[in-house]
């Protein structure tokens, strides 16, 4: 291992958060370009399945994490539990904040069709979202945190897939529209379209 690789390994061990390439470079007093071969070396060294640790690129930086092979033992050794899974309400709220940030609570409620206050509170408490100023009406706005990216294994927000991929196909779309139109016409049929006769 080169000395530079040794230093970077130590820095990643010590840093509580993922470290961006530029920050690693300035700490090591080298140019970011000089760090590329070192990061490649470490990436090979800590490739998945080789060791107990894996080098990961998350939340805009580099970090070391454990390989899942150690999870049962880690659970026995450490009292600290892993991040619990998200409830459907929490996951939906997080998805809306993730894609639309900054977004206000009423906006989340409008999209979900139900109030999302306790889901929002839980996500705040778990540090997955945070406040990000206020809307023009004074409602608190929310955005996701670097911890969100880290825990979900994302390098950056733009790694979230295009949500359009979950939209219905053109056929499904047409069918849905037909069904809605029929329902709409049935409702409109009740309203008087013509002048009704007045009974005496």
């Amino acid at each position: 291992m080169t000395e530079l690789a040794r230093i970077v390994e130590a820095l990643l061990f010590l840093s509580p958060d993922p470290v961006a390439t530029e920050d690693l470079a300035s700490a090591c007093d080298v140019w970011p370009d000089d760090l590329q071969p070192v990061l490649e070396e470490l990436r090979t060294e800590f490739a998945e399945g080789r060791r107990g640790l894996v080098l990961r690129e998350v939340a805009g930086g580099w970090t070391l994490a454990t390989d899942p092979v150690a999870e049962p033992a880690a659970r026995r050794l450490l009292a600290r539990p892993r991040t619990p899974p998200l409830s459907p309400a929490q996951a939906e709220t997080l998805a809306i904040v993730g894609y639309l940030q900054p977004v206000s609570r009423p906006e989340v409620a409008r999209i979900r069709g139900v109030a999302s206050d306790s889901a929002t509170a839980t996500l705040l408490e778990r540090g997955l979202i945070e406040e990000s100023g206020r809307s023009q009406f004074g409602a608190v706005l929310y955005r996701t945190t670097p911890l969100f990216l880290k825990l979900f294994g994302l390098g950056a927000l733009d790694e979230l897939p295009d949500p359009g991929q979950w939209d219905p196909s053109p056929e499904e779309h047409a069918e849905l529209r037909d069904r809605l139109l029929r329902a709409g016409e049935a409702r409109a049929g009740i309203a008087p379209a013509t002048t009704a006769t007045v009974d005496g």
């Binding site: 994490a65 454990t66 109030a115 979950w166």
Partner: protein, 254 residues
């Protein structure tokens, strides 16, 4: 805000005076989607009964405000808050509803995706340990001076000195009609004989429709008119309570 300001509410999401509810809704501090507006109307009717008299001005004000809230709520439930959705054709309504369904479904799928990502991270742990002692010492001397701008604090303080703007509801609908006005319209129609509710509100906007209905209620209560509706959503027929004079042929031919 006389009689309306007196109206005290005790709802699931809010208890306090009606005008405060309005303020909080406009400031997005109470989620209108959670407010049962029907309960507000019931509370108002109780309130009226307790007062034992009808203040036409206050009644108009309440109707305008509750109509505005209803409109706002219906807008909130449709996708684009700024669009004028007042007079939607069935086809347009279907499009709006469709857009809303697709949007909700999109984020439900995105939520499933996120839960999948989190599940895939099962067993990945990060280190969390305090810095070693040699790293904790010192630091102060190497700090960059003036990394933050004091103006940021002044600006933050200025923001905190701001009082909320007085709540302006004019954009929700101006009081253009009053119960008294609609009473006189109904009375003049009824002078020509029986009529229908549709006739009384032909071409009118939603607020006018509400207030006309209220005026009609008042006439019924006073024994000035009777009304009848054969089936739900059907025509409302209105007739003068007193023996009608022979309908004058001079009326407008429809």
């Amino acid at each position: 805000m006389s009689a309306v300001a007196d109206l005290q509410l005790d709802l699931e999401v809010f208890s306090g005076p009606f005008d405060l509810l309005l303020t909080l809704v406009l400031r997005e501090e109470v989620d209108l989607l959670e407010v049962e507006l029907a309960d507000v109307v019931l509370a108002y009717l109780d309130h009226l009964e307790a007062r034992g008299e009808l203040d036409l001005e206050a009644a108009t004000e309440f109707l305008v405000l509750i109509a505005a809230l209803l409109e706002l709520k219906s807008r909130l439930m449709l996708p684009r808050a700024d669009d004028d959705l007042l007079d939607l054709e069935p086809a347009e309504a279907a499009e709006e509803l469709l857009a809303r369904m697709i949007e909700a479904r999109r984020y439900r799928s995105a939520a499933d995706h996120l839960r999948g990502l989190l599940a895939a991270e099962e067993g990945v742990r990060y280190r969390s340990a305090p810095a070693p002692p040699w790293l904790r010492r010192g630091g102060m001397e190497e700090l960059p001076e003036g990394v933050y701008s004091p103006d940021r604090l002044g600006a933050a303080l200025g923001g905190l000195l701001r009082h909320p703007p007085r709540v302006d509801v004019t954009h929700l609908g101006q009081v253009r009609v009053s119960v008294a006005e609609r009473l006189s319209v109904l009375r003049s129609l009824l002078r020509r004989g029986a009529t229908t509710f549709d006739e009384a509100v032909r071409g009118a906007d939603r607020v006018t429709v509400c207030i006309t209905l209220f005026a009609l209620l008042e006439m019924y209560k006073q024994g000035e008119a009777t009304w009848e509706q054969a089936e739900p959503f059907g025509e409302i027929a209105i007739a003068p309570a007193a023996t009608p004079e022979a309908a004058a042929p001079a009326g407008a031919a429809t």
